[in-house]
């Protein structure tokens, strides 16, 4: 079995070659990408200050206060799942994590590469939200992976569906596989 960083470098190479249009990816290469991204997660190297909309939200036995610091994955969970209700009510943090893995690994998910603003190469994974659509959610769900850092940047549900990917700021867009 190849070491993790060797696998990561190989997957990033495959993605970057696809961005440059050098090759069509085989099914096993697409699966290798999905498996790799499914093991990626938010950047947890530094906690972040909570945004104002999370103030007053209960988390692990206390009510969040202005300027509280939390890990990035918790901030995303509280913002999109608990406060904005994009995921079903009552979804736990663990359930949220599993839901993202499920979307990333789903053979029905679409995979699109692009260059996003000055942030380098991104891989956008999109799928119909289905059972993951909450009261404030939408029909499509996005998980955005950053090739340059190997981290998930964010995940949320898309009001304008796949039209979100056509907003200004993305260039060199290429579907590795369209969503079904």
């Amino acid at each position: 079995m190849a070491p993790a960083d060797e696998t990561s470098a190989n997957v990033n190479r495959i993605i970057l070659e696809a961005v440059r249009g050098k090759q069509l990816l085989a099914a096993d290469e697409l699966w290798e990408i999905q498996e790799h991204v499914a093991n990626a997660w938010y950047n947890l190297s530094r906690e972040q200050r909570i945004p104002g909309e999370l103030v007053g939200t209960p988390w692990r036995g206390r009510v969040l206060q202005p300027n509280d610091m939390l890990p990035t994955d918790v901030v995303h969970y509280l913002k999109h799942v608990v406060v904005r209700q994009e995921w079903p009510l009552g979804m736990t943090f663990g359930g949220y994590r599993e839901s993202l893995r499920g979307v990333i690994c789903d053979p029905a998910s679409g995979l699109m590469t692009s260059i996003y603003r000055d942030k380098g190469c991104h891989l956008s994974i999109v799928r119909r939200s289905g059972e993951l659509q909450g009261p404030g959610g939408y029909e499509w769900l996005l998980v955005e992976y950053r090739v340059s850092t190997g981290n998930i940047a964010t995940a949320f549900q898309l009001e304008d569906g796949l039209g979100y990917l056509d907003r200004p700021g993305r260039r060199e867009k290429r579907w590795l596989r369209r969503p079904r």
Partner: protein, 102 residues
């Protein structure tokens, strides 16, 4: 088909999310030079989505889908956005295409 109650609930969720993000802009600008590149990317991506939601609120306001209270909150939101526009420009954020007048 969505009921009026569902539509109202969704409008309320959008109004509060967008107002909160606009309120957060001064803190974001202050933190920006020190933010991790991943956090900057996340903010930009999520702002793009909020712009879509702002534009749909604009459409809801123009087609009289909002309650009187929601209309008032929406007008407050437009004031906040106008005040925050210099930060939007300085950070290079997307600008919503909104036709509703204050």
């Amino acid at each position: 088909m969505a009921t009026q109650a569902t539509i109202n609930e969704r409008i309320d969720l959008k109004l509060s999310a967008i107002a909160a993000e606009i309120d957060n802009l001064p803190a974001i600008e202050e933190d920006w030079p020190h933010m991790l590149d991943d956090h900057q990317a996340a903010f930009l991506l999520e702002w793009d989505e909020l712009v879509t939601r702002m534009e749909s609120l604009d459409s809801a306001a123009r087609s009289y889908q909002m309650t009187a209270t929601q209309q008032a909150h929406y007008r407050d939101l437009l004031h906040k956005l106008a005040e925050a526009m210099p930060i939007v420009v300085r950070l290079g954020l997307s600008r919503p295409q909104i036709t509703h007048t204050l």
